[in-house]
């Protein structure tokens, strides 16, 4: 009896330890959200969303997050556009065509793992070095009107570097989604006389669509959340350098070729670590960014739930 009750106590102890660990995770998460909310919510006036940042020593005059918010959206959308086809192609290749035994396959897998492990600041630095080459001058405004060199910083450059940064993560999620399509559906496709590519296009991809959308949304989250790449390759200007009226379609190309900011670089700039020194604005922007990321995660969870309802 005594041994049994000791076992019970031990069991209870570990259960309690697990509960405490979970509670710590939850508390840290809630603490961050609440801290940002408590300090940032005061900044959330309508004008915060409708004015551009204005460098000022007086925080009340420092403007809002219109340009950084637009910058986050522009960078996320263009980054996803750049990554979508290459990552879908790679995922299809990895899931459907590759022979796992072959050396080339293992090399590609190793490459993706290495890519996934590279810190984003390294990508940023690499991107700056590469896209400053004169041959890439079409992606960014040329430096000082000198057509033989490139500035190397623009939304286009940032989007391409982001695409490389998120590629391994997006490929991984897409590959898993494609692999998860049941064998029975593939066999049904083949049994109807579809060729392999037709079967992939008509059966596998439509069935994997929710997972592919999940991969895209996760990619959006990664882009929206990254700071280092933006700081190095989109430039440190808080407003759009391409054109002030960035929302007008004829300004889109100049805006993409120009520099700007995102919510993350705005937070860095406005925090005491940056030059802007408007912490209230930084808290406000951080709260907006958190809300965006939470919304994206909720969307992913919703897709997952739709999928499991469908599967029942």
């Amino acid at each position: 009896m005594a041994r049994l009750s000791f076992a019970h106590v031990r069991s209870r102890f570990w259960m309690a330890a697990c509960w405490v660990s979970a509670a710590v995770v939850l508390a840290v998460c809630a603490g961050i959200v609440l801290a940002m909310a408590a300090r940032g919510i005061g900044a959330l006036e309508p004008s915060f969303f409708t004015t551009d940042p204005q460098p000022s020593f007086e925080e009340s005059l420092a403007g809002g997050i219109r340009a950084p918010l637009a910058g986050s959206v522009i960078l996320a959308v263009s980054g996803i556009l750049a990554v979508f086809l290459p990552s879908l192609g790679a995922a299809i290749y990895l899931a459907e065509y590759m022979d796992e035994q072959k050396l080339g396959t293992r090399a590609i897998r190793l490459g993706l793992e290495v890519l996934a492990g590279v810190p984003s600041v390294v990508f940023g630095f690499w991107g700056l070095a590469v896209f400053s080459q004169p041959i890439f001058a079409f992606l960014s405004d040329s430096a000082g009107g000198d057509a033989t060199s490139a500035f190397g910083r623009s939304f286009l450059v940032g989007a391409l570097v982001m695409a490389v940064h998120i590629l391994p993560f997006v490929v991984k999620v897409m590959e898993e989604a494609i692999r998860a399509v049941p064998r029975a559906l593939r066999e049904a496709g083949y049994a109807l006389g579809l060729t392999k590519w037709r079967m992939i296009k008509r059966v596998v991809l439509p069935s994997a669509a929710p997972g592919i959308v999940t991969a895209i949304v996760l990619g959006l989250g990664l882009i929206v959340g990254d700071t280092a790449i933006v700081w190095l390759t989109v430039g440190g200007t808080m407003t759009m350098s391409g054109a002030d009226a960035w929302w007008l379609p004829h300004n889109w190309l100049p805006v993409l070729k120009g520099t700007g900011s995102t919510l993350t670089t705005f937070i860095f700039y406005s925090s005491p670590a940056g030059e802007g020194n408007a912490p209230g604005k930084a808290y406000g922007a951080a709260f907006v960014l958190l809300a965006l990321v939470v919304a994206l995660n909720a969307f992913v969870a919703w897709i997952g739930r739709q999928r499991s309802i469908k599967a029942q």
């Binding site: 049941p182 066999e187 049904a188 496709g189 049994a191 006389g193």
Partner: protein, 276 residues
């Protein structure tokens, strides 16, 4: 093995289907000396079999006896399995399916297949049927496609149940409806042979009854090969029967004849329920 097959092969017109003279009809599917392996594991041993046209042929035998593997040889679904190897010849309407000129996608349209578990695509009822039709005839217009979808669903005895929900997800149908949808999907590409691998294994008796009734009607237009564990089902619907055991095809003949007077002890023991 060959001697047994030769004894059985000259098929006598089947009782109950005397309207068609089997002897005058060419075989729909013929296999000669078929052996196959998954890796080093031999699953079929020198199988000879002849499947008559426009009849229901039931392949019976205990689990793991090679019935399904044989079925998958006929439409070359086994090609998709790494390590699969086959010897011997299988011909469909006299043409060797492993011949160099054979287009395997065309073969699979000629020899349709329905699987053990209903496997509709996770899309609408309409698209489940239209998918393969569109792929094989990209220029098809909407009216023609609508017609094929309707006809296939009618042929599969499903039209009345789904005509008001063609755009609804196929996954919302019951198991029996899903299986009939899979049959409709196979019929839509106009096959000549329809193979069913234990199509009622996961269905209740009512859904099973509907599928059996459907197969009896389809027999007039299609050659049907059905793998079944269910002897009573084979008795109810099949004209011809082939008994598989441990990878060998031991006995083939008209269903009534095999059931009443099996030629082999093993068949008799299986029919008695001594094993299986």
């Amino acid at each position: 093995m060959n001697d047994v097959a030769e004894v059985v092969l000259p098929a006598v017109p089947t009782a109950g289907t005397a309207s068609v003279d089997v002897a005058c009809e060419p075989w729909a599917v013929q296999a000669a000396g078929v052996s196959s392996w998954y890796g080093s594991n031999q699953v079929l041993k020198d199988v000879d079999i002849c499947i008559p046209q426009r009849r229901i042929t039931a392949l019976i035998g205990p689990s793991g006896c090679g019935k399904s593997t044989f079925l998958r040889c006929v439409n070359r679904m086994n090609d998709l399995i790494r390590g699969f190897r086959m010897q011997g010849t299988v011909s469909v309407h006299g043409e060797d399916i492993n011949g160099p000129q054979v287009d395997v996608t065309l073969l699979r349209r000629t020899v349709g297949m329905v699987f053990q578990h209903p496997n509709p695509f996770p899309m609408s009822v309409y698209d489940n049927i239209a998918l393969a039709v569109r792929e094989h005839k990209p220029s098809i217009n909407r009216d023609e496609l609508d017609g094929i979808v309707e006809q296939s669903l009618k042929d599969a005895h499903l039209w009345d149940e789904v005509k008001d929900r063609l755009s609804g997800s196929a996954l919302g149908l019951s198991g029996g409806q899903q299986q009939r949808l899979c049959i409709a999907r196979a019929l839509a590409v106009k096959p000549e042979v329809l193979m069913l691998d234990e199509p009622c294994a996961s269905l209740d008796p009512i859904a099973t009854g509907k599928i059996e009734e459907l197969l009896l009607q389809l027999r007039e237009r299609y050659t049907i090969i059905i793998v079944t564990h269910n002897l009573a089902q084979a008795r109810r619907i099949s004209d011809e029967m082939a008994f598989f055991l441990m990878g060998e095809m031991l006995e083939q003949g008209p269903t009534q004849q095999v059931l009443a007077a099996p030629q082999r002890e093993e068949t008799a023991a299986y029919l008695d329920g001594s094993y299986g």
